[in-house]
């Protein structure tokens, strides 16, 4: 329900993402992944999505397994330390998802151009490779070869991209939507600024005064944010620096479930569609497990998860 703040319930915020829309998501390897939001998208059967993403493996693999994706602009999806994203790979191999490949810098520059309000930007990467030669749905709009009118350097022009919605998971925010982040920001900032609408899920809701005490942590001021949702453990089974580590046990279980469509359907029935909301999901993960992931206040990650502390 909408209030005079930007605070939304998860269910209401997810309803703002329509089937068929073009989205971008946060996430870098096993951190920053907006997975509580993605699970609710799957519960609400949002589908036919177009995604522009750099390396947001978790969100893309879950949505692929839920058969929610149609078109993807990407650079790299991999579960670091575990291997390929099997749901995504299988969906591509079975012809369900159309893919347009870029490099990390290439796709990020498309979002950067969108975030700056310019129609295109020159880059010095990707030329001469099959990323350049093989064109999928972007066809002639993928790249233009260009010679710099000032220096005569050869460059590639890439057009801006402006997704309908950016879905980001961050550390904390106030109810007005001032969003703060600890640690690396990956592509969160350019992704959010390129999008027409920005939805942010956070570990903590804090007073505006707390935000104003450390403005250097702010990644998005409220005027760039449309909705904020309070979702502790909202990145699980990925982690959040200074909050909790990634959950190796659950990642093992997830990866195992992605070996076939049938097995992933069982995973979805148990952990996503079979749970009414995120509290029920976290209850399934269990208190003991969640506590073992809790970040050490000095290091910012769980020493238990790094094999240091026995329980």
């Amino acid at each position: 329900m909408k209030t005079d703040t930007k605070l939304y319930s998860l269910k209401d915020a997810v309803r703002e993402v329509k089937s068929g829309s073009h989205i971008t998501l946060g996430g870098f390897a096993h951190s920053l992944a907006p997975l509580a939001f993605v699970r609710e998208m799957i519960r609400q059967d949002i589908s036919d999505l177009e995604v522009t993403a750099m390396g947001e493996a978790w969100a893309v693999d879950m949505l692929s397994g839920a058969k929610a994706l149609k078109k993807v602009r990407m650079s790299n999806f991999m579960f670091e330390g575990w291997g390929r994203c099997r749901n995504f790979s299988r969906a591509v191999e079975e012809g369900e998802i159309e893919v347009e490949d870029y490099s990390h810098f290439g796709i990020t520059n498309r979002m950067f151009a969108g975030s700056m309000g310019i129609p295109f930007i020159p880059v010095k990467t990707m030329s001469g490779s099959d990323i350049y030669h093989e064109r999928s749905f972007e066809k002639n709009n993928k790249f233009v070869d260009y010679t710099c009118p000032f220096t005569e350097e050869k460059v590639l022009l890439v057009p801006k991209v402006e997704p309908d919605v950016a879905i980001i998971h961050a550390s904390r925010a106030d109810v007005n939507g001032n969003v703060q982040l600890y640690g690396i920001s990956s592509t969160l900032e350019v992704a959010a600024k390129s999008a027409k609408k920005v939805i942010v899920t956070v570990e903590e809701i804090v007073e505006e005064e707390i935000i104003r005490k450390q403005p250097e942590l702010t990644i998005l001021p409220s005027f760039l944010v449309d909705a904020v949702i309070h979702l502790p453990y909202g990145a699980h089974p990925a982690g959040m620096y200074k909050y909790y580590d990634y959950d190796s046990d659950h990642i093992n279980l997830y990866i195992e479930s992605t070996r076939t469509n049938e097995k992933f359907k069982e995973y979805m029935e148990e952990y996503i569609k079979g749970t009414e909301n995120e509290i029920e999901y976290l209850e399934k993960i269990g208190l003991k497990q969640l506590l073992s992931l809790k970040a050490d206040p000095y290091y910012g990650y769980s020493l238990h998860n790094r094999g240091e502390v026995l329980q």
Binding site: F28, A29, H30, S31, L32, G55, M74, S75, N76, F77, M78, E80, G81, R84, C85, F88, S89, R90, V92, E93, V99, D101, Y102, S103, H104, F105, G106, T108, N109, K124, T125, M126, S127, G128, S129, D130, I131, E134, S136, E153, K154, V155, G183, I184, S185, S186, T187, L188, E189, V190, G239, Y241, D245, A295, Y299, G300, Y301, R306, G307, E308
Partner: protein, 259 residues
Amino acid sequence: MKQSVNNVITADEMMVFAASQLFKDGDVALVGTGLPMIAAYAAKQTHAPNAVLVFESGIMDAKASHMASGVGDFPLVHGAVKTSSLFDSLSLLQKGTINLGFLGAAEIDAYGNINSTVIGDYQTPKVRLPGSGGANDIASMAERTVILVKHQKRKFVEKLNYLTTPGYIDGAGSREKYGLPGQGPEKVITDLGVFYFDAATKRMSIESLHPQVSLEKVIEETGFEFQHIPEEIPVTEMPKPELLQTIRDLDPDKIYINK
């Protein structure tokens, strides 16, 4: 050399050592996790204390207390001098500030081109692989690049399924034609030897083979012909025992080497 179990160097350790020797003091390197990261830390602890490690996730000059499982992993964040964005890290690569990069490969050809995108046709792939990530950016833009790869016939191929990451593309002059700012791959380091690219043809050639590795074995595991094979093939230099110990101490739980 004493042949006690502890002094027998493994293929992983040879790769790490050979890679570490390519760091120059003061290099600003974009590294991934795994063997290149261990090599970078070994170089920093020995001949290149001023080398700086940047990770594409936005982590700069990391000083990890625990082994990281990936380039965005929290032990790299804690203790770094700056945490920033992927866009920031890769902009430094385009600018030329980051001058050294390391690459892995699912498939590599004689010109050092790499495939990490698909097996089969691009539009209807038999196997969809993870995709470029920062690899194409490193290979296109870093002044110097080094490729670390396991030497297997299915990886060392005459023709790639898809050219994700440029080496010398079609040979001499190709990189210039496409305007790629980096110099192209300097070395390929495998578990069998060290390889370079012939100046005239830009095709892969043998520089040295690791101890106990035969030429027959290398040819058997390579799906293309080397441009140049020295008549007397040098044996790859081995690390001194202290350095070998340093390398082992960097990964005591054998997460990346000797796993």
